[in-house]
Symmetry: C2
Subunit: 526 residues, 2 copies
């Protein structure tokens, strides 16, 4: 009841601030319960369709009356009572539909959070509302531009201003720990997975490893394969951590994951392998001068040039080959088709290619840029390798992005500042390490001429940040005031934000109308 009063007060204030452009509001609700029931229901629906398809299939192949599929129920799983699948699922669905409807009503009436979407009839008003301070106390009323409906992370919408900040710091701390913790196994991997070490550790493999072609291939690719496998484990953890930060949009969470993964790859793969590979060689010098990281990095870089060049080569030869041919998804699809999929929907889902996977792809590319830049002076071969990587990438991924993958959201280029910042960070890292590297050589005094380079790069990064970044987080009013080719229907915009678990299948939607918006519709689309 208190929440309702609060909400009515809020709507009154909104109407007085935006008397002409405020369309209506949608209060965010706690959808945990209703989502659970909805997913159960959808699961049973899928299982029913599957069972029906199996039954139809059995009619065609076996007896004309068909073989009704059975399923075992009860907590004991395979030991439970055998029942007719179709009947069982139909029963379950019949049970769940009224339960879902009741839960929908409860959710809409009683589980309202102190948070809402506001819809405006005018794009300038919406863009400027997202940028303006609404209440004097910053934390009593925070506003953000609403993400696309398919990007919204509903459970994160309700998080309060200071809780969000605390979560961000906590997650940063955990991510820092993760990065430091991963350092150890990666250091071990790069130290152990040389062929000599393998022979010593696993003497029974010696006979195989002494065959020349096997030896050549393994010598070149063994550490890289180990590293790549290792790197594949992390992104899901980082995405979960990014969501735990309280970011309310999937696109933003993916960007945050990509950022974390970039720190991880540069710190662990690039610096970790560079220092780790020389860890046993230069262990004493680390102990003596722990803060001379630049010098150490510079002196360790040359020894790992071949490792990183093969790392890049593996990425474009094997990586892009797999990417373009899509051999692995093809095999998985055909296996699924043969043994699992019975219905059209299941087949479609098995074929579905997913989206581009920015969270891991971008940091991978950024790592290659870092490697290509940092080795460009020490091992100039890294430049053609980088060119080939990005040239092939342009050809392959352009095709994949346009013809294969299905984007799951549109972030309107918000990845640009993210990538720009990281390319510049890689550039500055390169300039600093090359300064350290030249400082170690004969030309040490001439290395001083390189000092302006990182300063100029920092200046450029600062100007970029100031000049360009803000228009990615805030919509410029001039852009918002441009005329649209087609004017969207406000009602359909509003409806698109209703989560599937809350949208009733009834045609009239009257209870929804009632609970989601007590506001009479004011104004019309401008």
């Amino acid at each position: 009841m208190r929440a309702k009063l609060e909400r009515n007060r809020l709507i009154r204030i909104f109407k007085s601030i935006y008397p002409e452009t405020f369309y209506r509001s949608m209060v965010v609700t706690d959808n945990k319960e209703v989502n659970k029931i909805y997913e159960k229901l959808e699961g049973y629906k899928k299982k029913l369709a599957h069972a029906e398809a199996v039954y139809d299939g059995s009619k065609k192949t076996g007896k004309p009356e068909g073989l009704r599929p059975t399923t075992k129920i009860g907590t004991l799983g395979p030991v439970g009572r055998k029942v007719d699948s179709i009947e069982h699922y139909n029963e379950k669905i019949k049970e769940l539909i009224p339960k879902l409807e009741a839960e929908q009503k409860t959710t809409l009436r009683e589980k309202q959070e102190a948070c809402a979407f506001a819809f405006f009839t005018n794009r300038v008003a919406a863009a400027s509302a997202a940028q303006s301070l609404h209440a004097q106390m910053v934390d009593t009323w925070t506003v953000v531009e609403a993400p696309e409906p398919r990007q919204v992370i509903w459970s994160n919408l309700k998080i309060k201003y200071f809780q969000r900040i605390i979560r961000q710091y906590a997650v940063s701390f955990i991510v820092a720990l993760t990065i430091l913790f991963y350092m150890i196994p990666i250091g071990l991997i790069s130290a152990l997975t040389t062929l000599e070490n393998l022979k010593k550790l696993l003497p029974f493999l010696k006979s195989i490893l002494d065959i020349t072609p096997v030896k050549t291939v393994l010598e070149a690719y063994l550490p890289q394969i180990a590293l790549n496998v290792f790197l594949a484990l992390l992104p899901k953890l980082l995405l979960a951590l990014s969501k735990a930060e309280g970011i309310p949009s999937v696109g933003h969470a993916v960007r945050a994951t990509s950022g974390k993964y970039f720190y991880f790859t540069v710190l662990n793969v690039f610096i970790g392998v560079t220092l780790g590979g020389t860890l046993f060689r230069t262990f004493k010098s680390i102990g003596k001068e722990p803060n001379s990281i630049v010098k150490l990095l510079a002196s360790s870089l040359p020894g790992n040039a071949s490792f990183f060049l093969t790392f890049v080569a593996l990425k474009f030869f094997v990586g892009y080959g797999l990417e373009l041919s899509r051999v692995v998804p093809l095999i998985i699809f055909h296996l699924k088709k043969k043994y699992l999929c019975k219905t059209e929907a299941e087949l479609k889902q098995a074929w579905f290619p997913g989206d581009l996977g920015y969270a891991t792809r971008i940091p991978g590319d950024m790592l290659v840029i870092t490697i290509a830049l940092c080795y460009s002076v020490i091992a100039p071969l890294s430049i053609p390798f980088g060119v080939v990587y990005f040239g092939l990438g342009w050809l392959v991924l352009r095709n994949q992005a346009l013809k294969v993958y299905v984007p799951s959201f549109e972030s309107y280029g918000k990845m640009w500042p993210h990538i720009n910042a990281r390319v510049l960070a890689a550039l500055i890292l390169f300039q600093v390490t090359i300064f350290g590297y030249l400082g170690l050589k004969k030309f040490s005094s001439r290395a001083l001429f390189l000092i302006p380079l990182p300063i100029l790069s920092l200046l450029f990064a600062y100007v970029c940040k100031k000049k360009f970044y803000r228009s990615f987080s805030d919509t410029a009013l001039e852009v918002a005031s441009r005329e649209l080719k087609e004017i969207p229907d406000m009602e359909s915009v509003f409806r698109s934000f209703i989560p599937p678990s809350l949208s009733s299948e009834k045609a009239d939607d009257d209870h929804f109308e009632d609970a989601l918006s007590h506001v009479s519709r004011i104004g019309s689309f401008a």
Copy 2:
């Protein structure tokens, strides 16, 4: 011509962004020339009034036909040709009026800058316009809330985004140099102005200095008087530097000056005197451990307790005494009245008390808070001294603010975050020094219990900053949407922004209308 086209484009965009709330715009012009002529004209007008008053006075006292005052003209000043003052000034004024009018026209037509005031008929639209990004490139179109007309620094309005940033860094650098440079003379003053040193340096004063009452007074107040005199020289320089930063509002420039002056007083007076007074005693320990400033400060604090206590006492006894009695302005007024002022306007100006002078008063109070806090454990007498200082200050300055001074601008409490941040900085400085101080004593291990204090203070400062500060720089829309008691007339709001040098004395103002706003008035006050 290009500027005009640009401006028309801008107005078109503005109209499309704010179709209903945009009232009109006032283009900022380069008023340097016109201001010069206007000031000359005003100067002659004042001189004419003065000469006429002198002539009238001579009629009453001397011959009935009066003695016409004369003035000497020509570059040679007193050696030049003698002319009748009234005639001369009348002539000059007649010459200047058409010149001013011509320059006004030229300024309004040809000296337009790429910068304008925008007037809105709706306060919410104005408040949200000042907070929103208008063009995609941040530096092509920057918006700020317009200060009050009397606060506007016209010459700073035209400064571009990046030039403003560069100016800020340049000024910060100069201020840092100033603060470091002032350290040396202050150190010398506090070392030299002890009575023993004075006797040594100026032996001819010895006979006077040995008289007991003179000795007592001088011993207590000599270093403080020297210090106070020294501190009086700086604010004007800092205000000029703040204006050179490109701040477009007087109130903001005064705040920036106050901030710089605070850094100066704390670094130079508080830390400078503390270390400077012990400079000759602990010179060797500085040389050995230059980065143990906290420890050094903590060990030096007790030796300067009496200095700072008398500093505070001097401030409230002598400072508030002078403040309340206003003896100095009274003497100056009577001297001016007797020898200089002839007209009513001149008398009024001589009596005018000015404003409160935040730029120097706030840092002074902040310094007292810093002293009272930092000495509260070492020399607890500092607490009653601080209480008396602020208690008396409340009584005296409340009276002065309400009944004596005439505020020259209204910043709507924007001083609050400024003072809040500095009080918290003083608190944290106190907590850190007291930690260092206790660390030196027997209880060194128990000093560890003090570690949470500065951390909690920092946390509190962070929360304050996040929660409260933004509403001082941006107007909250909820506040802007509240109903006003009286609705201001838009035309008079617009007129109040016209600088006096550009406002014509003609009644019709037609050329102004023409040049300042090519916009037909659209909309009406909402």
